[in-house]
Symmetry: C2
Subunit: 430 residues, 2 copies
Amino acid sequence: MRRELEQFSKQELSEFLDDIKVEYLRYCDSGLKLDMSRGKPSPEQLDLGEDLLNSVTSGLDCISSGGIDCRNYGGFWGISELRDLFSDILNVPSDNILIGGNSSLSLMFDTVARAMLHGVAHSERPWSKEEKVRFICPVPGYDRHYRICEVMGIEMIPVPLTGNGPDMDLVEKIVSSDASVKGMWVVPIYSNPTGDIYSEETLSRLAKMDAKANDFTLFVDNAYPLHTLNGTFVQPIDFFSLCNEAGHPDRPIMFSSTSKITFAAGGVSCIAMSKANMETALPFLQAEFICHDKVNQLRHVKVFPDLASVKRRMLEHADILAPKFRIVDQVLHDRLDGFGVASWNKPTGGYFISLVVRKHTAQRVVDLCRNAGLVLTQAGAGFPHDFDPDDRFIRLAPSFPSCDELKSAAELLSIAVLLASCESIIGEKR
Amino acid sequence: MRRELEQFSKQELSEFLDDIKVEYLRYCDSGLKLDMSRGKPSPEQLDLGEDLLNSVTSGLDCISSGGIDCRNYGGFWGISELRDLFSDILNVPSDNILIGGNSSLSLMFDTVARAMLHGVAHSERPWSKEEKVRFICPVPGYDRHYRICEVMGIEMIPVPLTGNGPDMDLVEKIVSSDASVKGMWVVPIYSNPTGDIYSEETLSRLAKMDAKANDFTLFVDNAYPLHTLNGTFVQPIDFFSLCNEAGHPDRPIMFSSTSKITFAAGGVSCIAMSKANMETALPFLQAEFICHDKVNQLRHVKVFPDLASVKRRMLEHADILAPKFRIVDQVLHDRLDGFGVASWNKPTGGYFISLVVRKHTAQRVVDLCRNAGLVLTQAGAGFPHDFDPDDRFIRLAPSFPSCDELKSAAELLSIAVLLASCESIIGEKR
């Protein structure tokens, strides 16, 4: 039966640290070279998509069901089969969906840029003409959302996640009282990295809450709607109707992609908006592109004629991913349980585990791991400006390495957590 | 031997008009349905690209020469093989090239948007913070360039093309005297729609000229570098070196794509910039995308391992396109020569013929054609805000229709030109 490290005497801590250091140095000498920093699919997962490479092989294959030659210009909105498929995936009407290129991140960036240059529905002026623009950022969250805010000069307000989405009391208080709060990032299903699934209550409150800014917009990054790890699919809530019924039809703008369904760099993306937001955006969109890559759109609908076929594929992904998450969880459990120095979630979907360590040790853990050959996501990356005020959160991305590699990685990580915790407690007792 | 319509007596004009009207009405009754409005490749041209659909068919095929798995994230700059290929096509060093998605238009839009939000190298502030931003627009030019300026609130200054590029005396005068002139559109090879090839002198003057704005930028849309119609390739001038030697290394930003080499909606694009411009843009680019579609990049380099292979493909395109341009030219020649009411260019490359009709009749010609079932590019489209002050220019896009269709289309067009000219001369004589 383990005791909490905090309860160790100085002598015990010193001995424990010496033992851990020996283990750690052994790892340093082992020549480990691993990367758990990004949510990259593994080669085995990518191999699942081989059918995509062979689904459109002739000119005849290039004609969409609507009779469009997908090799040529035209089809601004994307082919209807794919709009319908995303409609089923996201529970958003097809008419609200525009198909993009290979990256939903680009669509998010573009949408924020457009808001800065022009505004969204109900904007009195371009956001860049406002004295200040603020976004609510649930934390820990996705670093690339913060990067968009940073380059646009948008101030970020962190709000903690609770397990069912962000602290809604706080969100409501901020949004209803501050007209400079124009936006909020929302990852409603398997939030990156905590795995939060926004509850019906959270989504309902997001739809209904009063906003001081008439053009307050929810940037809903629905990156993982079907990305189950336990074989159960989350039933996506009809969020556009929720917002509509609450009298805020133009509040949500939603994004999704097949980056983690087919190929991480060769998939298709979409944006969903209300009619009014579409109308506001249309002159910009029409100046930006003639159409996106419809050949690749066709490849996707030929492999995925319906939602059921996507779900089958996602279960195959889960078969590859779930054991990896189990291994990391098991090793952390074996090595850390009882010491009282770390906790982590057991996500039911998505791409990440969120590890919470002792205050002021996350950076040290990440550094220790890097020195021994294991690259983790930068400490603090889950927070605006990479600043985790308590220096506690570490994002783990177990998807890419093999199971054997993950075992070593999780061992090393555990050792680093113990080492950093031990140092920190000794420092405090001094 | 024909006489100029202007020389016709009232009686002769009246009889001529009656005859032409009969011909015109016959066309109206014939149920023609044709579109010469956009520079779309024909199905036969798209069929040339069938090899592209079969060039990457397995996971093994997806590994680039640099060892990158093109199905996964990574490869921000694009695969090196493709950067090298565009380098050879454009005569710009590979290091200055970033590969984009399926659309160079999107790269242009993004680049102007980034300048508005942030600026380019040497900008004192974002262009959106300037009191006024002006771009020089050689006319007639590409309507989608103007669309970008319009939505960004950029004022456009039209400058006439001469056959060797724009009137450089005028360009130099404007650029050297007005600090609000921040940009200029340049289509250096087979300019849309006049077919102008910018001469060495023009390019040299563009590189050397004094600019009042330190951050004056040439937006070089190199859409047709290899798009020969006569089998001869234009040797692209090393414009980046020209600008560098002239002390303006950061002046050009160049764009290109394979939209009219492989598939109009499924190709790959690129942007070329100086190091300083790259550095200025980098934080924005990194916030916008992780990487573009490298699977499609690979498809391209497998079909086109070198410049020679692209040139061979472009000669096949020319074999399909050149007869179409000849037919239109021949019919216009047969029907219009000697009447003194129209002139047009015989482009050596590109996608368009620029037809110049009597003052104040272009809109009427386009309307007459539309009423009889032939859609032409909107009159005025070659000018900022769709406003051709003399209402004289009509852009013809002969690439998509079949040769038979083009014969009918050119006949109808000629009839419409004669009809509109006749009406106009009668009106003036009244």
